[in-house]
């Protein structure tokens, strides 16, 4: 194709650094760790001395965290890569080779790859926490040989917070979205490349702090952090608050880039009607973060202030603990749409290319994505129907149930796309189909929690646990792995092993359902959530769920091995292995450091989902107009 010839010629002159990996390239990582830990201990210790206390107390832990975070960032390369030149200092060198993966930099592609690695590591650790929970629940009584009740509470809190904010919040948006958004929109990079680079470097210290929170006393509130329990069940809550706020801020930096790139940096000819559906999904998620996350920051800071500064927003005889619930859920309900909307968009991005059909009812699909993000802003109250006055129930019940209408458009579009097509089912497509089936259960069981009479019984039982695992694990994680498989050739130039991909897809599907479906029944049978000890009549069903969950957990080693092995030894893939019309596939794979050379840019001349036999190429390459 002429397209790639233009590319090939000019790219040979780009002279990208081809140095192979050397251990010295890890230097920024080591420096960041050293500076971060030094900064933390120095600041925490000095604060403790000044206030005549010990460093595990809330105040020194807070000061230490803030200072440690800044030192970590400086060590990671933010100093020479950004701050120094921003103050008129020496220009930073551009790292174009392998080195860029291990230091702060403006390259969205290496940032995205770092996201994938971090998400996998976090998923593994938080998954271990889940295994610990299920081991505890093997027996109904208190298990002295395993976790104490305090440790159990800390474990599910860490599991919940890290799975949500450390994994699903950034799995698709970060690992897949940040890589693809410039390529799909036809630009070389996002609008604020350094902010995007910064967003990843905020995550490791935040994640580390949350995992280490038991060392300063842990927190027993679960991932909600509800006061006043937050203020009297361990100092670890300060790392929960700071870690969550840091990760949310990282998401916000990404959201600003997504929205700004989508609005201002589309290629010539890419009208809003031609923007790829995945970018629409990211945009819908980004608007949620920009508009709704502020409320939750205020809640987090006030929770922290009650802990360290002596204010009484939520505690004491004049506190209003319910206000925290309002502030917290104002974002954290829509936040689940930040997780799932990009997953929806992944389905609708993959299915047309796999079925060789145009995206069915595209306008309705976009209305669905944007509609969910807008309706989602107004319904956090359904998370605490048992706490609010009667007057608030009908309104929030109605709005919550309405969300199922735009959500349905995604299924409408997906079914219409497959219908009459020729669906080529590889591991990625299989995972997408399974994610659709899982999310369907997750979505339908959500209606029960939206419906106040049913919710008054089902709230805070295992029914809810099952419901959101069907959406988050069954929906988002399945789609995430599907996306990793589908775009794996784009990033590495190789394909994954299809047999093992399909094998573990079925493995997941079976054991996922065996683990979580019984939780619906356990909920109806009266098992409330967040308990280390339950009544013996629930023993059999818990035993079954625990054993299934061990198989499910072990199964995650298969895709890990598949990704690692295929990255080095997988079969070589051509530039566009799935025959997709997507703009991101029209450039070389793996994507060069500069995706397409100086003087060239794409112009969109047609829809990217026209797979009819006589269809024209959707993109042509034109010389960059001189200003």
């Amino acid at each position: 194709m002429a397209t790639n010839e233009i590319q090939e010629n000019a790219l040979n002159n780009m002279g990208v650094d081809k140095t192979p990996f050397a251990a010295s390239m890890l230097f920024p990582l080591f420096r960041a760790t050293l500076w971060g830990l030094t900064g933390y201990f120095a600041a925490a210790w000095i604060t403790a001395l000044l206030f005549h206390t010990v460093i595990v107390n809330p105040l020194p832990a807070t000061v230490g965290y803030v200072v440690g975070l800044i030192c970590w960032l400086m060590g990671s390369g933010v100093w020479e890569g950004w701050i120094r030149r921003a103050f008129g200092g020496k220009e930073a060198p551009t790292y174009t080779g392998i080195e860029r993966y291990f230091r702060f930099g403006p390259d969205s592609k290496s940032t995205a790859v770092r996201y994938v690695v971090l998400n996998i590591v976090t998923f593994f650790l938080a998954g271990m926490a889940a295994m610990a929970i299920r081991i505890e629940l093997l027996t109904p009584d208190s298990t002295s040989w395993w976790l104490s009740e305090i440790q159990y509470n800390q474990t599910f809190g860490i599991h919940g917070l890290m799975m949500l904010l450390g994994v699903v919040a950034s799995a698709i948006v970060g690992g897949v979205g940040y890589y693809l958004i410039p390529l799909m929109l036809g630009t070389r990079n996002v609008v604020f490349p350094k902010l995007l680079g910064l967003s990843w470097w905020l995550l490791p210290p935040a994640t580390f702090a949350v995992f280490m929170s038991p060392t300063i006393g842990g927190f027993q509130t679960g991932w909600w952090g509800y006061p006043p329990l937050a203020q009297n069940s361990g100092s670890g809550i300060v790392w929960y608050v700071l870690g969550a706020a840091t990760i949310l801020f990282a998401s916000l930096l990404g959201a600003i880039n997504i929205a700004g790139t989508m609005v201002y940096m589309r290629a010539k000819g890419m009208s809003l009607g031609r923007v790829p559906i995945f970018v629409w999904g990211l945009f819908a998620a980004a608007t949620i973060l920009v508009v709704e996350s502020p409320a939750t920051y205020t809640g987090a800071l006030m929770d922290l202030s009650d802990m360290i500064a002596g204010s009484h927003f939520y505690t004491g005889p004049t506190g209003h603990p319910l206000a925290y619930l309002d502030q917290f859920w104002f974002l954290f309900h829509p936040e689940v749409y930040v997780f799932i909307l990009p997953a929806f968009a992944i389905w609708l991005e993959i299915l047309p290319a796999a079925a060789k059909r145009p995206l069915f009812a595209r306008g309705w699909a976009i209305a669905g994505l944007v509609g969910v993000s807008m309706l989602g802003a107004m319904l956090g109250v359904h998370h605490y129907f048992t706490a609010v006055s009667d007057a608030r129930m009908p309104i929030f019940m109605t709005i919550t149930e309405t969300v199922s209408i735009p959500t349905g458009f995604i299924y409408l579009s997906a079914i219409g796309t497959i219908w009459g097509g020729r669906l080529r089912i590889n591991a990625a497509v299989l995972l997408v189909l399974m994610a659709m089936m899982n999310f369907l259960i997750g979505g339908l069981t959500g209606i029960f929690n939206a419906d106040v009479p049913a919710d008054l019984q089902l709230h805070n039982t295992y029914w809810v646990i099952a419901h959101f695992h069907y959406t988050m694990l069954g929906g988002v994680i399945f789609s995430w792995i599907a996306a990793l498989y589908w775009w794996f050739p784009k990033v590495t130039g190789r394909k994954i092993n299809e047999f093992w991909g399909k094998f573990h897809a079925w493995w997941f599907f079976v054991f996922f359902n065996c683990t979580f479906f019984p939780m619906f029944i356990a909920g109806i049978e009266g098992m409330n959530r967040r308990i280390a000890i339950y009544l013996p009549y629930l023993h059999d069903i818990n035993l079954f769920m625990s054993i299934s969950s061990f198989f499910l957990g072990a199964g995650f080693l298969i895709p890990l091995a598949n990704l690692l092995y295929s990255w080095r030894y997988g079969p070589k893939a051509e530039a566009n292995p799935w025959g997709s019309n997507g703009l991101e596939w029209q450039i070389k794979s793996p994507t060069p450091y500069v995706p397409y050379p100086a003087g060239t840019e794409p112009e969109v001349v047609g829809p990217n989902d026209n797979y009819a036999a006589e269809a024209k190429e959707p993109v042509i390459w034109v010389p960059t107009p001189s200003k």
Binding site: T94, V191, A255, G316, V594
Partner: protein
């Protein structure tokens, strides 16, 4: 001549994009203050404690409004491409930031954080303090970049524009803060 360095190629956003996308950040920052402005009545009731120094509040607000003059001057110089000319305006804003920070810290001494009003006043003004510290750093960066590397500053004027946009946003938010916390 077109700049085809890696740094330029991999930061392709136009000045319009850089300045436009910045408003998403401003929107985010504004909503945080909106939450606290609204929450003030939940925790603080409708009364304003007598210990709060109204004179300081009025003075700080007037100062914020007057600070729009150097902002306007700096914007005009930026429009004209006269980067060197804006340094004094930006330096003025640094001084204003320092005075504002001092005023905020002083007002903390007049309130008790444990009381409803004191808590919400303190946390909101603390968040303003964070913004003023950020403003000082950003202004300093702009000044130093202009004086040390005028060429680079010329090609990255959007940074200075965004700093001024940020300042304008803080002024509006401060006025809202004054109305809600001192008058209402």
């Amino acid at each position: 001549m077109t700049d085809n360095s890696y740094a330029k190629l991999m930061d392709p956003a136009s000045e319009r994009a850089k300045r436009g996308a910045f408003f998403f950040l401003i929107l985010f920052a504004a909503i945080i203050f909106a939450m606290w402005d609204l929450a003030r009545f939940l925790w603080g009731g409708t009364a304003v404690p007598a210990t709060l120094n109204m004179g300081v509040g009025v003075a700080l607000t007037v100062l914020m409004l007057v600070s729009l003059v150097p902002v306007m001057a700096a914007r005009k110089k930026l429009d004209q491409g006269d980067d060197a000319g804006i340094v004094s305006s930006l330096a003025t804003l640094i001084v204003v930031s320092l005075v504002m920070a001092g005023g905020i810290v002083y007002s903390w001494t007049t309130l008790t954080i444990g009381s409803g009003y004191g808590g919400i006043y303190d946390i909101t003004s603390l968040w303003f303090l964070v913004h003023f510290v950020a403003a000082i750093l950003a202004l300093l960066a702009s000044i130093m970049k202009i004086t040390r590397t005028p060429e680079r500053a010329k090609s990255e004027r959007w940074v200075s524009y965004n700093v001024l946009t940020f300042w304008g946003g803080v002024v509006i938010l401060w006025v809202a803060f004054f109305i809600v916390f001192y008058i209402a």
